[in-house]
Each structure stands twice: as structure tokens, then as C-alpha cells.
Amino acid sequence: MAHVEGQQHPIAIYFKIWGLLFVLSFFSYMVDYLQFEGYLRWFLILLFMFLKAGLIVSVFMHMMWERLAMIYAILLPPLCLLVLIGLMTMEADYTFLTRVLFFAGP
């Protein structure tokens, strides 16, 4: 398993990426700071998280594509699952709400 390919990135690119990461983190903080609520909040937080993760994976790890493909293969399914888990929590809250509203409760 050879991984360290000879290819070198110019140092500038690292700085640019650092900058981008800062900007993204800033946005994440803003979501908190501006007190977005509900689904929007989670949507934004997750979005920025994925963007950051994507950046890090694609640039800093500058791996050969096979490694990258492995990572996609291992990461993509859980990402699909995250959608499922997110929607399932919403669904659970909704169900619970109707139960509280309409059922006599324990």
C-alpha cells in the first residue's frame, strides 16, 4: 500500500484552505449566535460540517484516489444514514406531539 505520492502542494494552497475553514467555522458560529431555530439550524450546522469535512478530506489528506474511494465507500453510506436518522428524529417528535395532544397519557 503505497500512499505518499510524490506530488507536492504549494504552500499557498494550505493557507487558502485554512482561510476557507475559518470562514466556514465562522458561519457555524453565526448559526448559534443568530439563534436560528428548528430544522433550519440543524440543516445549516450539518451543511457546514460536511463542507468542512469535505475540504479536509479532499485537500489535506491528498491521498491517492484509491484511498479516497475507500473513504467514500465507507463514508457515503453513513451519510445517507445521517439523513435517515435526522428525518427519523423529526418523525419521532411529530408522533410524540400527536400523542401528547390527543391521547389521555399515562
Binding site: 408522533t95 400527536t98 390527543f102 389521555a104
Partner: protein, 367 residues
């Protein structure tokens, strides 16, 4: 070659069929004309796509079928064409989706001031509940359901006392008033479906679901269960009657409130010991979810006046109802089917005591 011709015939035939067929939506009786409009938009766009694509295919086959000396054109791709087609398709999709989402937003947003009505489903019959004077439905729970409280209304909830109970599968609604249907199920999934209203929604046990609509036409409409709920699924029918306001009020006022129902149930005349036990057995075994003892019709034939009667069977013969017949009817319900009823009763294996109690109950209701 024949294929090209047949394809064209099929396409033309399908279009003609569409216009000439006697089968189309039943005339609408609710405010959901917008759903029909969206459907028509979808229909037109997809119809055009269907005709265009298949005619093009038929023409290609006609034009380029194998002949001596024909050589196919070598063209791996044509990016421009493909992008154009993609964009065109996207436009088509957006043209369908946008109105669809707008109408969906209406569909899930109940207008202020809609009347709440509850539809209750259980295998395989409908019943309904109106909120009564206070305009609020009482809370419910499965654990409160009993012979005296068939709707499982919370006895401690003051909102529930004046709720009006409709124990038969016929629901009346006033015309031109928005209703919010709250849907509740005792056992399995069902679905409240009146084709003329377009709207429908599942009933899910352990959950309250809803949809809303405004009836816009008086008349009597079929109510169907549209979610598979066991062998009796297809028999789970009812009616929705849309009335003018006065007729509706008159109908509603003839129905008992929960408080009245409770009073009547406790005041019912006492029965002999064995028959009382029979009532318990019938409750515990679930017979009473299909059979009634007061002469109204249920999923199965009523037990009132059953004993000693000449019963007409599905094959046209008749049989006198005696103990042997009752026992057979319970242990092997499909052996002799009563006329006009579906073969959906599950077989039961009851102890002799329980059976005797049930027979006593049925006898007591036949005197």
C-alpha cells in the same frame, strides 16, 4: 417494420382511449379542485413527452431498419443535444412540481376555524365522533375502551362528556364548511377514502393523523378503507352524507352524547347470570367488535332475535338456528355462510363453558 406500425397504432390507440374511455374521475365534491388541476398539468406534460418520445422511436425504426447496404452512423455522443434535453426535462419537472408543492402546502395547512370531526377505524368498521357544544374533542386512550365506553374517551376529561358518538358507519357533514378529519385507529392501519373528495389519509394506531377539506356538493358518497387491514379490508365500507346545514343539525341532534350513552348503558336491564357471563365472554373474545346485540347491523349479523330464526345462507338454503348451528358457526364460521356477509369471521376455539354462556346470551336476546 411491423413494429413501427404497431407502435404508432399503440400510441394513437392510447391517446384515443384516453379521450373516449368512459373511465375517469368521479365528479368532484370538495374544494380540492386544485388537486385535479395539478393532475391535469402533470397529465399534459407527461402526455406530450410520451407521444413525442414514442413517435420518434417508431419513426426511427421505420426510417432506419436494416436494408442491404445500410451503415449505421458512428456518433459516440453529442453533449450539446444531451444538455438541451436535460434542461428541457428539468423545465418539465419544475412545471409539474411547483404547482404540486403549492397545493401540498394547502393540503397540510388546516384553515382556522375548521370543524373537527374524528373518524375511528377498527377491523372492519367505521365510527365517528363530533366534539359537541364546547367544540373540543375529549382526549382518548386505548386503555379506556370498554363495553360502556366504546370510543375510549378519557372519563376525567371534561371536554369529552358532551362529545357526540356516531356508532354506525354513516357520517353526515354540513356543506361548505371546512372540516378537519382527525383519524384514529384501534388496531391496524386503515385509510379514510372518499373518491369524490380526492383527499385521503391513513389511520395509524398509536398516532392521530389528519387531513382537511370542504364538502361542496350534497349527496351520499361511498366511504372506503384504502389501506390493507386484513381479510375484511374490502368490506370496510361506510357512507359520507353531505347535508344542508339544517338537515345536518337535525341529524346530529338525534345522536347521543358520551354522557347520555353512559347513562343508557348503566341503566340497561339486568340479565340472567349466565347471559351476563356471555356478555363478558363476547367482550373479551372480541365478538362484539363485529356483532351487535341491539339489532343494528355490524360487520357480522346481529345477535338480536337470532336464536330460533330461519337463517338464509349464501347458497340460498335456509337453516334453523339452534345450539348446534351456533356452535358450528363459531368453531367453523365458513361452513355455513350467512347471506349478505363476507366470509371473514375467524374461527374460535372456546371452552364449553364459554360457549354455553354465549348461547345463553344469544338466547336472552331472542326472547
Amino acid at each position: 417494420m411491423a413494429v413501427a406500425i404497431v407502435l404508432v397504432l399503440l400510441i394513437v390507440g392510447s391517446v384515443i382511449f384516453n379521450f373516449l374511455s368512459p373511465w375517469w374521475f368521479t365528479p368532484i365534491a370538495s374544494n380540492w379542485g386544485t388537486i385535479d388541476t395539478t393532475l391535469i398539468i402533470t397529465f399534459i406534460i407527461t402526455g406530450i413527452a410520451f407521444v413525442a418520445i414514442s413517435l420518434f422511436m417508431a419513426y426511427s425504426i421505420y426510417r432506419f431498419h436494416h436494408k442491404e447496404g445500410r451503415v449505421a452512423h458512428y456518433e459516440p455522443e453529442n453533449n450539446k443535444l444531451e444538455w438541451w434535453l436535460t434542461i428541457l426535462t428539468t423545465i418539465g419537472v419544475v412545471a409539474m412540481l411547483a404547482p404540486g408543492l403549492v397545493v401540498w402546502n394547502d393540503y397540510i395547512t388546516v384553515p382556522e376555524g375548521a370543524d373537527e370531526v374524528e373518524a375511528v377505524g377498527k377491523q372492519w368498521q367505521w365510527s365517528f365522533r363530533f366534539p359537541g357544544e364546547d367544540g373540543k374533542l375529549g382526549t382518548t386512550d386505548i386503555k379506556f375502551v370498554s363495553f360502556d365506553n366504546p370510543f375510549g374517551i378519557n372519563p376525567d376529561d371534561p371536554n369529552g362528556q358532551d362529545d357526540i358518538l356516531i356508532s354506525e358507519p354513516e357520517l353526515h357533514l354540513p356543506i361548505d364548511r371546512p372540516v378537519k378529519m382527525l383519524l384514529r385507529s384501534y388496531d391496524v392501519l386503515h385509510d379514510f377514502y372518499v373518491p369524490q373528495f380526492r383527499a385521503k389519509m391513513d389511520l395509524v394506531p398509536g398516532l392521530i393523523t389528519y387531513f382537511w377539506f370542504i364538502p361542496t356538493r350534497t349527496g351520499k358518497f361511498d366511504l372506503l378503507c384504502a389501506e390493507l387491514c386484513g381479510v375484511g379490508h374490502y368490506t370496510m365500507r361506510g357512507h359520507v352524507v353531505v347535508d344542508e346545514a339544517e338537515d345536518f343539525d337535525e341529524w346530529l341532534s338525534s345522536k347521543p352524547t358520551y354522557a347520555q350513552f353512559l347513562a343508557a348503558a348503566t341503566a340497561a336491564p339486568a340479565m340472567t347470570g349466565l347471559a351476563t357471563k356471555g356478555q363478558e365472554v363476547a367482550g373479551a373474545q372480541g365478538c362484539l367488535s363485529c356483532h351487535t346485540i341491539d339489532g343494528t347491523s355490524g360487520v357480522g349479523p346481529t345477535w338480536k332475535g337470532l336464536f330460533g330464526k330461519e337463517e338464509t345462507l349464501a347458497d340460498g338454503t335456509t337453516v334453523r338456528v339452534d345450539e348446534a348451528y351456533l356452535i358450528e358457526s363459531v368453531s367453523d364460521p365458513n361452513a355455513k355462510l350467512v347471506e349478505g356477509f363476507a366470509p371473514i369471521m375467524p374461527p374460535y376455539e372456546l371452552s364449553d363453558e364459554d360457549m354455553a354462556a354465549l348461547i345463553a346470551l344469544i338466547k336472552s336476546k331472542s326472547e
